[in-house]
Amino acid sequence: MRGLWLRLFLGLLLCLVSSWSLAAQPTLKSLEAEPIDIKPPNWGRPAQTFTIDNYTLSGAPALSAKAAAVTKRVLENGLVYLSAEEPTQELVSFDYLVRCGVGQEGSNQQGYNALILQILNNRISNDSHNDDVVEITGSLVDVGTSPDFCRININTAPINSLLMLRRLCQAVARPQFSAAEVELARRQVLNALTSASNDQLYSIFLSCFYRLHPYKRTPHPVEVIIKRVTPQELSAYYQRNFAPNRSVLTSAGKISGREAFKIVSATCAGLVPNKEQVLEVQWEPQAVEREVYLYSSSELAWVLLGYQAPSLQSSDFAAMRVIYGALGAGLSSRLWTELRENRGLAYEVGARYPELLGPSHLLCHVVTKPTSVGVARRRMLAEIDRLKREGMTPLELQEVREKLLGTYLLERETMSGKALHLGMAELSGAGYEADARFPAELARVTPQDVVRVANKYLIEPTLIIARPGGRFYFDW
């Protein structure tokens, strides 16, 4: 009898705790009565679960070397859903990635991606009266474009995660845009354009370097295009490019993948896949404009040196990351050491090597005095030649590996970082498991690989110089 009372007591306790916890956070259900219409599930292909130990190669202590279980489910229309369940986290992050970048925007559509993302953001964040319904749940929505894809990211509390997932899925599942939606988003994007900073030198470099390739454009919207696009044009573009078979939805954190997939399949199963093949523009290695001289209105000068670099999917990618790490990443890099520490030539030194699905670039830059442009350029080229000739010592290689591995781990510390990188790997075609393979690939790079890859790609640089005197300056 006492045992029965004890069981009743514990059951009641459990019910009360769970019901109060649900009531504690103001959920959208209490604000908007949304009917939940769960259609018969279209499960598509069966779920596959893989376990990835992301941390073995870092040699981390056993306590944090936890395996992250990632489950992949695919709808019939090709939409991929990845869930990385982490029950100990107190957050949930959703990442919706679409393989639609600058390559899909024609030259007369530059900015369509940004406009569509703004519309989707508004759909997720606002109710029918344009009042915010996201912040009140303690959620954050962010959107962004890159050369290869568009991204919607939502961070939220576990208690509201299914609700936010439903809002996300319902937003992307409506391919038609109303005139009111487009007008509001247009105004918001144009407002943001006025205050946004645009890296003009980088844009000029891309234009010279890529020439006819779509990567010559940045994802930055163009005002006149944003002003004239119609809802019909935007809807047609959306249906064509934001197709489910070109999209990956990833969740990371304290959320049940099974429960989440019910919502995904109920809301997104009706999306129509795009059967067209993604057009890959062939890389044109012989760029015409190798040296560009610009007038700078500032008192400083910029020197940019850009080279070809392998794509994310290339077998040379890891070795090129090592080269980037050695040349220009951080304060111990060769360019920093030579130009700033040893010679005091530079206010700023750095490099960038974006992870692109297509042909990428390694861009080294230095900001210096106008009278030092010549010697800065010579020293940059000398360091690159030295790397090609002599490569790296095993000690330097190991240090660069550690530097890159540290960055790799830090980028995946948050749930949104995890979701993003899993999604990017899946979207690239290599599979989400590829993201966890990077430390092993890094460990396999040898000094010989560094020399081989440097000599293969670091040839025929594109040079951009901007300084007060333009080309005509008495220093060379």
Binding site: W20, Q25, S58, S64, I159
Partner: protein, 457 residues
């Protein structure tokens, strides 16, 4: 039996209520299970084991910043921050940076009015080695003349870039008006070109010996590490860390808001105008007002659902707008700002003042208040998702008030009521204020437009 069940039921109800009240505050509340210790030399250690990822954040917070400067020394804390990682007797600056990066570490520093913060974030398997490097820099930063001269150029360049930044210009003007020339909060943290050029090695050595002392320093370690080895290392590294000079943290008379509006107009070359209204607010010591003003800031100007965004930005009356308020040791300024078209400065000011009146009169909904609190909570939670964010949160409050501020922060936020908001708005926003109008310059018409205008005229 029935009587016993009723008695038992009442106690059960009390028990349930206690449990569930705790559950409502569960989300986002930082675990207060960090370890603290004060060494014999006065240095405080805070260790928080967080094995979520194989990473660690190593931090040093020094209670010195703009607050300890005067008209001749303004900028020295920030300049010293640049010199922190420039080498010690055992490692040159380059070797130091190379050592940190060879451990997979990323390092940086920042200076505020109240403290300076140095940190290294790195894989946890190198946490002990990273801590040794950080400790070496704190105790033995060499401050050689060559390093000073090289960093001087970098600091000057940073100074020049700030001259073109409208928020920096407006904030500086407002600070000068509000704090007056005798208060260090009116001085720019970066200093001026002449003070930056004037500092020499002797100045930095004196600064280091006075202010980079154990009593003013808190070491915070957050991440996946083992407490005992880290504690042993910290005790060993800092056992003999002392400084010859001491200076008691200064205090100043409280500032009062002006009687009415105090306005200043400035021109800029940018194509937009910016207006800021600054009201004297609370300091970190003013409780519960500090929590109430945090909620007020989110209600009025932070997030898509804020009053400024919904009523002004979304309706096209502002390009951009919001509220800024920093919790500081000394009373901060609650700044409402708006960015809009050139020539609209007076209208922008009126719009912002109407929002102020609206809040003082209580013309906002309960939903607005719930949104503000939920959004504040989520910002806080997401900011403390990483080890670095957690450490930053702990160190921030440890430097300006008390470490345990963070233990009850979310609970105090949750307790803010509608009446509290109205009362705190009337206390801080209903009186006089400082106003800066930064008037932009309309962009020059393009060639086609110019020809069209000429043809019309």
């Amino acid at each position: 039996m029935r009587y016993q069940i009723v008695i038992c039921g009442r106690w059960l109800s009390v028990f349930f209520l206690c449990l569930l009240w705790g559950a409502t505050l569960a989300w986002g509340a930082p675990r207060a299970d960090y370890y603290t210790e004060v060494l014999p030399n006065g240095m405080r250690l805070v260790l928080y084991e967080n094995p979520r990822a194989p990473l660690c954040s190593l931090n040093i917070f020094c209670k010195v910043g703009g607050f300890e400067e005067n008209i001749e020394t303004m900028g020295i804390s920030h300049f010293f921050e640049h010199l922190f990682f420039r080498g010690t007797p055992s490692l040159t600056g380059h070797q130091f940076k190379r050592a940190i990066e060879a451990l997979g570490g990323q390092t940086n520093a920042m200076t505020s009015r109240d403290f300076t913060h140095y940190f290294i974030n790195l894989p946890s398997r190198h946490a002990l080695e990273g801590m040794e490097l950080l400790a070496d820099a704190l105790k033995n930063a060499e401050l050689d003349q060559e390093g000073i001269d090289q960093e001087r150029n970098a600091v000057l360049e940073e100074y020049r870039m700030g001259l073109e930044s409208p928020p920096r210009i407006v904030n500086q003007l407002v600070s000068e008006m509000a704090y007056g020339e005798h208060h260090p909060y009116s001085l720019p943290i970066i200093g001026t070109e002449s003070t930056i050029r004037s500092f020499n090695r002797a100045d930095f050595l004196k600064f280091r010996d006075t202010f980079i002392s154990p009593e003013r320093t808190t070491v915070i370690v957050v991440g996946d590490f083992r407490r005992e080895p880290m504690l042993a290392l910290l005790r060993r590294e800092f056992a003999n860390f002392t400084r010859p000079q001491r200076r008691i943290i200064s205090n100043y008379a409280p500032i009062k808001p002006p009687a009415g509006e105090v306005q200043q107009v400035q021109s800029s070359r940018l194509p937009l105008s910016m207006v800021m209204l600054a009201f004297v607010g609370p300091s970190v010591h003013d409780k519960p007002e500090i929590y109430q003003v945090d909620v007020l800031s989110f209600l009025v100007g932070l997030g898509r659902g804020s009053l400024i965004n919904r009523q002004l930005v979304n309706k096209g009356r502002l390009q951009e707008g919001g509220v800024q308020f920093a919790t500081q040791r000394f009373p901060g300024l609650i700044g409402l700002y708006g960015v809009g078209q050139v020539g609209q400065e007076e209208r922008i000011k009126k719009d912002l003042l109407s929002i102020v009146r609206q809040v003082c009169e209580g013309r906002f909904s309960d939903r607005d208040l719930r949104r503000a609190k939920a959004f504040l909570r989520s910002n806080h939670t997401f900011a403390t998702e990483t080890n670095a964010g957690l450490a930053d949160n702990l160190g921030y409050y440890a430097s300006i008030d008390d470490l345990h501020f963070v233990d009850t922060y979310l609970e105090r936020i949750e307790a803010v009521s509608r009446e509290d908001i109205i009362e705190v708005a009337k206390r801080y926003l209903a009186g006089g204020y400082y106003c800066v109008l930064l008037k932009g310059t309309p962009p020059a018409p393009k060639a086609g437009e110019r020809a069209e205008r000429e043809a019309k005229s």
